[in-house]
């Protein structure tokens, strides 16, 4: 073997992680796993502190006592973790954003928290992470960086939202067969409420993005919104199944009622846009017909959902609502295709039609910012 090549290869031994990351990652790993490693009580709870103190003071675990005495920093770190659920690095990383030095520490902390949590805590923790991603998304959308960089960061964050929502749904599925129906319903209720909020916030954040960023991130945002809807439906189904515990039937009914109203608003706006677009010259008639058909079927499903709700058949109501949502998404895709493929004069024609109809219909650009057309899951 060539000595020269080997010598060249050896130069790559200089590849090392940043020292600040190396130290922060170690601190986070050790502090987070320490809160679980000491006993069977939940981390961050009073019981956890009691178990830990007893373990250390009883002398039953000689090594632990020796280690803690020998490493006062480790003791302080562990105590801090148990008391406040975080260490210096964790606190420093808490407000970091994608691209910041401590961001990977923040993600590591989150991953560890989920990994060491009890099964019934995982879904809620995942929803907390989704909320954190949305806060980051909001901060990134306000940053003065290039559109390209912003689109890359938004894309990555939104993908993260989708995958975390999926995981939350899976964790909910994992605990569904648990004996503690009350707790399961409580978790499902919390997940459904937060998932609805995800749609709301994601839609608002999307509106704040510039046109190129919005365009480049549209597929991922759409995916995230669809996943938020799936997670909401899944969680509500669990709430209904485990009914009689945390959420009252009336609360569930109101929740479904609200979602039906939202869906009706989407269909209404969609119908108006399709109606005006169809009167425009050069419009693709096939797309119009498809959008009209999907919209009609969505309305039918919503009517079934409403009737089922009146009869207190919550499961059927939820199922019809979900089917209606999918149809609205299809109709929306057809409507978007009409807007894209129609000649440029269409914007003006829509505005003209808008006046004639005496209905405030936004231009295609405004539709995204003023109406929830693009986001059937948003309120």
């Amino acid at each position: 073997m060539s000595r020269k090549i080997i010598k060249q290869l050896k130069t790559l031994q200089r590849i090392t992680p940043r020292s600040e990351w190396q130290a922060a990652c170690k601190e986070v790993l050790l502090s987070q796993v320490a809160s679980q490693g000491m006993g069977t009580s939940r981390p961050g709870t009073f019981a956890g502190i009691v178990v830990y103190t007893r373990t250390v003071l009883s002398g039953a675990y000689q090594y632990t006592l020796g280690a803690v005495v020998a490493h006062p920093a480790a003791m302080a770190l562990t105590a801090l973790t148990i008391l406040f659920g975080g260490s210096v690095a964790t606190l420093g990383a808490r407000h970091s954003l994608p691209g910041d030095t401590l961001y990977s520490v923040k993600k590591t902390t989150e991953n560890i928290q989920v990994a060491i949590a009890f099964p019934d805590q995982k879904a809620e923790l995942q929803m907390q992470q989704v909320e954190t991603r949305l806060e980051e998304l909001d901060a990134i959308s306000k940053q003065s960086i290039s559109d390209e960089e912003k689109a890359a960061k938004v894309d990555s964050l939104v993908s993260d939202v989708t995958s975390t929502l999926t995981s939350a749904g899976q964790y909910l599925e994992d605990i569904k067969s648990s004996q503690d129906s009350k707790r399961v319903a409580q978790v499902a209720n919390a997940v459904s409420q937060k998932a609805v909020r995800v749609s709301e916030v994601l839609s608002k954040t999307k509106q704040a993005l510039s046109k190129p960023v919005k365009h480049n991130t549209a597929p991922k945002v759409k995916e995230a919104l669809a996943q938020a809807n799936t997670t909401t439906t899944k969680a509500l189904a669990v709430v209904i199944e485990k009914n009689g515990s945390s959420a009252t039937p009336e609360e569930i009914k109101n929740n479904i009622q609200d979602r039906i109203k939202q869906a009706e608003e989407h269909v209404k706006t969609l119908d108006q846009v399709v109606k005006i677009a169809s009167s425009t010259k050069g419009v693709d008639a096939t797309q119009v017909a498809k959008a009209t058909q999907d919209s009609k079927e969505a309305t039918d499903k919503l009517n079934i959902a409403k009737k089922s709700l009146e009869k207190n058949d919550l499961s059927l109501a939820l199922m019809s609502l979900d089917e209606s949502y999918k149809l609205v998404v299809d109709a929306q895709e057809s409507a978007e295709a009409i807007i894209i493929t129609t000649p440029e004069t269409k914007d003006e024609e829509i505005k003209e039609g808008d006046k004639k109809e005496e209905t405030k219909i936004p231009t295609p650009e405004k539709q995204e910012s003023e109406t929830p057309l693009a986001d059937p899951t948003s309120p």
């Binding site: 060249q8 130069t11 590849i15 992680p17 280690a67 480790a74 691209g99």
Partner: protein, 186 residues
């Protein structure tokens, strides 16, 4: 390499709930794991994320397994799986962005080198890194483990689940391929 016995003692203590015993293991392996992962992924930040995930999974593995015969092989195997999952989740498209400034290997703060030496070193590193990244994953992996992380052929065999003889052949072929990649740059 830490002594086998030392590692087994640390594993024993971790399993007993003494999480601080994980610190020496982290200290010993973090740079090696980072380097191993870094040369498989597109960016330094991805390498950091995946390295931390590797250690978290290692900790979980130690806690849950009954016994670990070869911790080094376990850690590298976990790192390999973490990278596979990374590409499965995000798609192969990300492999392209190798020229990002964030990936530059920092040697500017090396006080023991003259400016000329730094330039030569950086140039060598960039060339060989680029060539290494262009190699087949199996060749690159074995070269990194052997020449950069100083694992013996026998130790590599345990990581990649091949015989030491097969590893030797792959290492030979890998170096030959690397030579070929480096030639056009001269």
């Amino acid at each position: 390499m830490r002594g086998y016995l030392n590692e087994q003692i640390l594993i024993y203590h971790i399993k007993r709930g003494h999480t601080e015993s994980f610190a020496p293991l982290y200290d010993y392996y973090v740079q090696k794991v980072y380097r191993f992962v870094y040369l498989k992924v597109p960016s330094a930040s991805d390498a950091e994320d995946l390295t931390s995930e590797t250690f978290l999974k290692t900790w979980q593995y130690i806690k849950e397994s009954k016994g670990i015969g070869n911790l080094q092989a376990v850690i590298y195997k976990i790192a390999r799986n973490v990278v596979v999952d990374f590409y499965r989740k995000r798609g192969k498209a990300l492999v392209e962005s190798l020229d990002d400034s964030e990936n530059e290997i920092v040697i500017a703060d090396r006080v023991d080198l003259t400016l000329e030496e730094k330039m030569t070193l950086k140039s060598d590193m960039v060339l060989v890194e680029k060539a290494l990244r262009e190699l087949k994953d199996t060749y690159r992996e074995i070269i990194v483990l052997h020449f950069l992380n100083d694992l013996s052929l026998k130790e590599i065999a345990k990581v990649v689940d091949r015989s030491p003889g097969a590893v030797r052949v792959m290492l030979h072929r890998g170096i030959k391929a690397l030579k070929g990649k480096l030639k056009p740059h001269k």
